[in-house]
Symmetry: C2
Subunit: 121 residues, 2 copies
DNA sequence: CCTCGTCGGTTACCAGAAGTGACTTGATGG
DNA sequence: CCATCAAGTCACTTCTGGTAACCGACGAGG
């Protein structure tokens, strides 16, 4: 059997990686990790996401079996999203990424300033 | 002091996350983890990346202090890219992501087939 | 009765980001 | 002497993501 090779354009792992290595996906999964949440709650929490990208990204995640969609027949209708067990395993590898960004942000900022001074001098 | 909030559009952690949660960045950092490597080697290894996106992404990473660029005056000139210590800390959180994709690919595939059968019936 | 607002979307449209392919410079091999 | 490789850049095209309008069901308020 062939070993999966994420660097080959046609390998399913590469295509999967292309889908999850996405800014909205990362933010979304991280929020879903705190428990079930509704569409418009997500929309208000994630500043700058459009309705289109939110529903598009959620459906993509649902299709991949990472997120469960539950329609609750209240009025107006409520739709609740939550992580599946599979989605939880992914979130455990994504959360460190957000944590890394929070802890190393100042180092990156310093590097940028240095780069901009030397490269554009 | 304000706690970093990646969900706020203007927070530097959010902007940093937007840059690293990117398919080319993830693949690139993972390859650089194996040691210093040249431009055209990367280009050949990552199927489907264009020269433009490769040089663009590398310069972005260099500016963020994650990747070091070293020009070796051979002929033709050789440019070698490698991870900085900061970049190595990021790669340690990114590698599990690739590993996750490799191990859970079949589960995702099954979920997709199920979704396509039921949702499009 | 009529309109407004909410909820969770979908659709048409457009700007900007990403991809494509040619071109650069200089030494080297056929 | 023409072709090639190195590491890009540039003009052009394609395609993705953002904007905003609209949908249907219902409840509130004038």
């Amino acid at each position: 059997m062939d070993a999966p090779n994420p660097y080959a354009a046609t390998c399913p792992t590469r295509q999967l990686l292309d889908r999850i290595a996405d800014k909205w996906t990362v933010l979304l999964l991280s929020l879903l990790n705190d428990g079930p949440i509704r569409f418009n709650q997500l929309r208000r929490l994630i500043e700058g996401i459009s309705q289109k990208m939110l529903s598009q990204t959620l459906r993509k995640l649902e299709r991949d079996g990472l997120v469960a969609r539950k329609v609750i027949p209240t009025v107006p209708v409520t739709v609740e999203y939550s992580l599946t067990p599979l989605g939880e395993t992914l979130t455990r590898t994504i959360d460190p990424l957000i944590h890394w960004a929070e802890t190393h942000m100042s180092a990156v900022n310093d590097a940028q300033k240095l780069y901009d001074r030397t490269a554009r001098g």
